[in-house]
């Protein structure tokens, strides 16, 4: 995917400049990743407060650069394939990585961010 610059957004949101630049650097360092997982971002970007990072992600969503989607953790703790725009649309059962269906009512739902361009 192409390189990104969040300079304009950083100027518009000076309080979150550091977080936006950190996200910009992360995205440019991972051009093949179409998805941003907040857990991974928090692990990779240690010098920015997680709360600021969360707001910066929301700024990118509002700017139309990211789309928030929801995924479900399988019983083994990895992301199931299915993706939902709305967590209420998650069905009662989903397949795990080995095509074994599990009840989603007990599973964790995690928001992730998909790049739109």
């Amino acid at each position: 995917m192409s390189r990104v610059s969040f300079e304009i957004l950083a100027k518009q949101n000076p309080k979150y400049r550091r977080a936006l630049h950190a996200l910009e650097a992360w995205i440019n360092a991972h051009p093949e990743d179409a998805v941003l997982n907040p857990l991974k971002l928090r692990r990779d970007i240690r010098n920015v407060d997680p709360a600021e990072l969360a707001v910066a992600l929301t700024i990118l969503v509002r700017a139309g650069l990211l789309r928030r989607v929801y995924k479900v953790l399988t019983p083994s703790g990895v992301l199931a394939d299915a993706e939902f725009d709305d967590p209420s649309a998650i069905p009662e059962k989903l397949p795990d990585r080995f095509e074994r269906y599990f009840e989603t009512s007990d599973a964790d739902v995690v928001p992730i961010f998909r790049r739109t361009a």
């Binding site: 997982n37 991974k40 990895v78 992301l79 394939d81 059962k93 990585r97 095509e99």
Partner: protein, 349 residues
Amino acid sequence: MTHQKDLDEALSLVEKLCTGDQVRGLLRTKKGDENVRISAEDKEDLVRKNLRNAVESKAIEIEKVYGLIQDSEENGNQHIFYYRTGQKLADALTFDHVAKQIWGASWNKAVAEFPSIRLKPDSYKISDFRPFSARKPKDWILKIYGQKTIMQPSGKTDTDTDGSVWRQYVPENLRIVLSARWNSPDLLEIRVQRNESRKRIEEWYKQVWSMLSPAMAKDQFKAWELKTTMRNIALEAEHNTEIYDFRDVGMVDEANDILGSFEAFSDEGNLFKSQLTREAVKRFLKDGGDLNSLAVRWISRPTSEPREELRTLLGTRKNLHEMVVAGHCSAGDLDYVTSKLRDFGKAKS
């Protein structure tokens, strides 16, 4: 009247199964015709107005619409069970021979009626039998439609005064698409759509064999296990990075009855990006372990198949001759994967 009803049902299936791009692609083949409009407000209009008008005015033949449906429902989003047979039976399994065994001497008449779009309530019926591809003239596909009323939770619940909870279930018509695909020279693929109930999958799989029974029996075939194939795919991954990568492996130490697995956390992860994992899997295989599942992503190519990325799960822990194809795909892309499985089944590692 019959033709009109067939068209109604075909268009309803197109709306449900095909993408807007697929429909526009078909309409574009007759671009310039006064009865063909490509732009539409949404997919509903594209199918219900543009495509209907194009078919009713005979600008587009209804067979082309059937073709769209075939592409969408026959390939992908399914379990494929692979079987092999001996040379003698393989040679005998020609289109004509199979048709004659199933429909008798007047098979030509029966086959000419296909494809059939309509479902038989709470039952199964053969809906199509045709040669599969011009590229491989000995190949054929037999398609079965089924319909079953199942009870699905509506999501609504109610609580009684004594604390009892009532969960509402509503009847839902499940449309079932099954098929048997002869992939010459020696492979029979039993294809069954994905479903959350393994019991239903087993039932449908038996249904395909039962409908094939006038022409062939399951015990004439041997399950084509993908054990060697999976092993070779895993061990040769570093030399084939432009062809595939993989995300999850299920491992088995048969001698000690031990199962294990590696899964990349992200659904778009690549297990072999980690040297630690790569070495662990290789070592396990070289020291006598085996794989019983492997989630492979086949990488798309701009000028040849696969035209689109394809995700498959080889083996399902219990059944080593089974492959699950995650999403819909083209017939050519799926055949590409099967031909790769054949290649890796032969390769030595």
